[in-house]
């Protein structure tokens, strides 16, 4: 599943990153095998705030669409 469809307060394992910006996204710590938790969504649904490697990061839909995850 995509990070865009992830549920709030649920933990996920990052499976794969796709698209042109995959290096950028991985450099922020979202490497395959890392664990992230969806913290909340902004008022209009996006950006999505996640916790990854102990810090908080927000991503817009375009970026969350590029991240494949599976629930833990």
């Amino acid at each position: 599943m995509l990070l865009s469809d992830a549920r709030v307060q649920q933990k996920y394992e990052v499976k794969q990153i796709q698209g042109e910006e995959l290096v950028r996204i991985m450099e922020m710590g979202l490497t395959p095998g890392s664990v992230c938790e969806v913290i909340r969504r902004a008022p209009m649904g996006y950006p999505i705030e996640i916790k990854i490697r102990g810090y908080l990061l927000s991503l817009r839909k375009k970026e969350t669409d590029a991240v494949e995850v599976s629930p833990i």
Binding site: G29, R40, Y46, R53, L59, R60
Partner: protein
């Protein structure tokens, strides 16, 4: 990962050296820079681009050193101009920056893994460094304990832990530099896999070493970048035999893939793997279930409903305070310059030089300094809120709304400050990371009805809009006033939508915004940065503003007018004081007056005559000057200013038809024109500074003038047909 001897160097600091601060954004890097340099800073744009160069000096053990604060970056894999500058400076190939002799690698202890990612890349460049851990109190709160000695052993550089918010953080750093020194890290400390290492070595040996001018120590990093990108695109160095390189990169990528590695991801994955493995010995983490302060605050401040409401309240408090704090200072500055002008005017013999000094130069300088209170107060708020971590939350909460109209979550604060004045607002767009979003925000910001438009609106509404009650307490005058504000916002949103379509996209940069932990900012750093913004405005935009005021003074003062005897007799007959009348005649027959006559045919369709034409020129100094110019044109006595002008405008008749010259249609047309025309040289000057080119201020002036012209024309026609017809 075995313990190793660290080759510490201490002699580097005995002679003047260049020290660069490197690190992720939000690590306290700027705070350290401000603590080390104080107000001994120089901030200017790098040539040709909009990235700011922050340079300062500091004294360590009696020796003066240069400090460069490199733009914060998450990776050396440069995609954006600021990251590229950091990278090029570090490898010593950037013409406009000195090669650093040693580095302070700033690392956020509460966010160690991601910070060490950049640190591991920088270490591959083998520049002597001291690693500075910041935010240890936040790490403590989260149960993270870092063994500095262990970390130092793993990475082969000295490590110190400081509290960037304490007043002595500069002392701590200086002491560490003297006592612990710096060490040159070894490359590939992160232990890349054999296939990756081989690929890097081959690319280096078979192509980079012969075909680029990169220093040897920078080649592995460049090789990694090329392998991940899979192309030569955006290589900034001189290279030859492109075809050979492309083939080689492709071949190496295939080899990596055959050996089970993803060539695009290999570097990132392996660095993070090493960081994760190595921190087992140096970092201990207590599992704590309790919520941190950040979690608790975020539950409220980024809440779906409460979040936007709180943000609006914060803005309200912010702008109300700026307004009420800045106004007395602005009044004081205004008075000081008027008094000073009057003093200079009366102590020098009357004449052209006197007038140039008083009406050209001193008035021009006053026009610069008057903006300082608003700029400094706005930036005190912005840097303070940025330092607490709240600004990122505000952007997070607002981003969904703002992307709907083609803007960015971080556009809100600059746009709102535009209601006070466009200048601090345009300076505040620097917080928007993406250049295109920032440019669009700058280009639409002057549509926000700033306070300088108020006097023009006030005179026109009072003179021509009937004071009728519409519903309840709402009057027609109030509605027109509100409508003008709304009109500005609508124009801003519409223009943003159009620009989003026509401006070149360039390389899209992904939206990956960090929400740093909440903390109490370092107050002196906030104050220093705000004062620096004021300094930048005065030194960089100020020059342009004073130059244009002198040009405007020339246009209004030449050719000079000498009253003839019959003119003086006429004045006496009309019962007007001659001084008032002389300045009227002076203006009317000056270049500005000629300009008014000259553009009259062009502005006639908008309902304007040559007198308003003069005002359009002179109000370029500042919009409110329109009122002063009309006062001069109509020889209004200073004592009866506003009422006098209103009466005079109402009673002005057309000599041919005998009907009133100015009507409600003229007033509406003029107000609409002022709502969108780029009638402000100071705004253009700051746009030049912030975009570092004359192109954007000229585009802004052009499109806003065209838009204003047609809007005013339509308004005039519409009002004549439907309101007066």
């Amino acid at each position: 990962m075995s313990n190793q001897t660290i080759n510490v160097q201490k002699e580097l600091l005995r002679q003047p050296s260049t020290i660069a601060l490197v690190g992720n954004p939000n690590t306290g890097k700027s705070t350290i820079f401000n603590a080390l340099t104080g107000l001994r800073q120089k901030i200017a744009n790098y040539p040709g681009i909009t990235v700011e160069r922050k340079m300062g000096t500091t004294i360590i053990n009696g020796v003066l050193h240069k400090i460069i604060d490199l733009p914060g970056a998450y990776s050396l894999n440069h995609k954006k101009a600021d990251e590229r500058i950091s990278y090029e400076t570090l490898i010593g190939s950037y013409d406009h920056e000195e090669k650093p002799d040693l580095l302070l690698m700033v690392v956020d202890a509460s966010n160690l893994e991601r910070n060490l990612f950049l640190a591991s890349q920088v270490m591959d460049l083998q520049i002597p460094m001291l690693m500075v851990l910041t935010m240890s109190d936040i790490a403590d709160e989260r149960g993270i304990r870092i063994q500095s000695q262990q970390l130092s052993n793993v990475w082969g550089v000295p490590v110190i832990s400081i509290n960037a918010r304490s007043k002595q953080c500069d002392v701590q750093i200086k002491q560490a530099l003297v006592e612990q020194g710096v060490a040159t890290p070894k490359p590939f400390q992160w232990n890349p896999s054999k296939p990756l290492r081989q690929a890097v070595e081959r690319l280096d040996k078979e192509w980079l070493s012969e075909h680029t001018q990169l220093p040897e120590r920078a080649r592995p990093i460049e090789a990694l970048r090329l392998l991940a990108e899979g192309s030569l695109e955006d290589s900034f160095y001189q290279y030859s035999e492109e075809g050979k390189a492309k083939k080689l990169i492709e071949e190496l990528q295939n080899t990596l893939e055959a050996q089970g590695e993803n060539p695009t991801a290999a570097e990132v994955v392996q660095r993070y793997r090493f960081i994760g493995d190595s921190s087992e010995g140096s970092v201990t983490k207590e599992q704590r279930d309790e919520q941190t302060w950040t979690d608790r605050l975020d539950n409220v401040l980024t809440h779906r409903v409460a979040g936007p409401v709180i943000f609006v309240l914060v803005l309200l408090v912010m702008f109300q305070s700026i307004f009420s704090w800045a106004t007395p200072f602005m009044d004081m500055i205004d008075m000081l310059f008027i008094e000073f002008g009057a003093f200079v005017g009366s102590s020098l013999p009357a004449g052209l030089l006197n007038s140039l000094l008083v009406d050209g130069i001193i008035a021009g300088l006053g026009g610069v300094v008057i903006f300082l209170p608003q700029i400094i107060f706005l930036f005190l708020f912005i840097y303070f809120l940025e330092g607490t971590g709240y600004m990122a939350r505000a952007a997070f909460v607002m981003d969904g709304f703002m992307t709907k109209v083609g803007l960015h979550g971080r556009s809100v604060v600059p746009l709102m400050s535009g209601f006070a004045c466009a200048i601090p607002g345009i300076m505040a767009t620097r917080t928007i990371e993406n250049w295109r979003d920032r440019l669009i925000t700058i280009m639409i910001l002057p549509f926000m009805a700033c306070s300088a438009r108020l006097p023009v609106y006030a005179v026109m509404i009072a003179a021509f809009v009937p004071d009728k009650r519409v519903i309840g307490f709402l009057t027609l005058q109030g509605l027109v006033f509100f409508g003008l504000y709304l009109f500005g916002i609508v124009m801003a949103v519409g223009s943003a939508a159009v620009m989003k379509r026509i401006f070149p996209t360039g390389k899209p940069t992904p939206f990956l915004m960090e929400l740093p932990p909440y903390k109490w900012p370092n107050v002196s750093s906030v104050v220093i940065q705000s004062l620096e913004r004021g300094k930048i405005f005065v030194t960089e935009a100020g020059k342009i503003i004073v130059a244009i005021s002198i040009i405007l003074w020339v246009l209004a003062s030449f050719p000079t007018y000498e009253p003839t005897a019959s003119d003086l007799a006429d004045m006496d007959a009309n019962g007007q004081t001659s001084e008032q009348m002389i300045s009227t005649l002076q203006l009317n027959q000056s270049y500005a007056g000629t300009f008014g006559q000259w553009i009259e045919p062009a502005i006639e369709p908008l309902g304007f005559d040559w007198k308003i034409g003069i005002g359009l020129l002179t109000s370029f100094a500042a919009r409110e000057v329109m009122v002063g110019t009309l006062n001069t044109i109509y020889s209004i006595e200073e004592t009866e200013e506003q009422l006098g002008l209103i009466e005079r405008l109402r009673s002005e008749t057309d000599p041919e038809t005998g009907l009133p010259k100015y009507t409600l249609a003229t007033a509406l047309s003029l107000m609409i024109f002022f709502a969108i025309a780029m009638q402000c040289m100071s705004t253009l000057a700051i746009v030049k500074r912030e975009t570092n080119s004359w192109k954007w201020p000229l585009v802004m002036f052009g499109y806003m003038t065209v838009l204003a012209y047609f809007s005013a024309w339509i308004t005039y026609e519409w009002a004549n047909t439907f309101l007066l017809g």
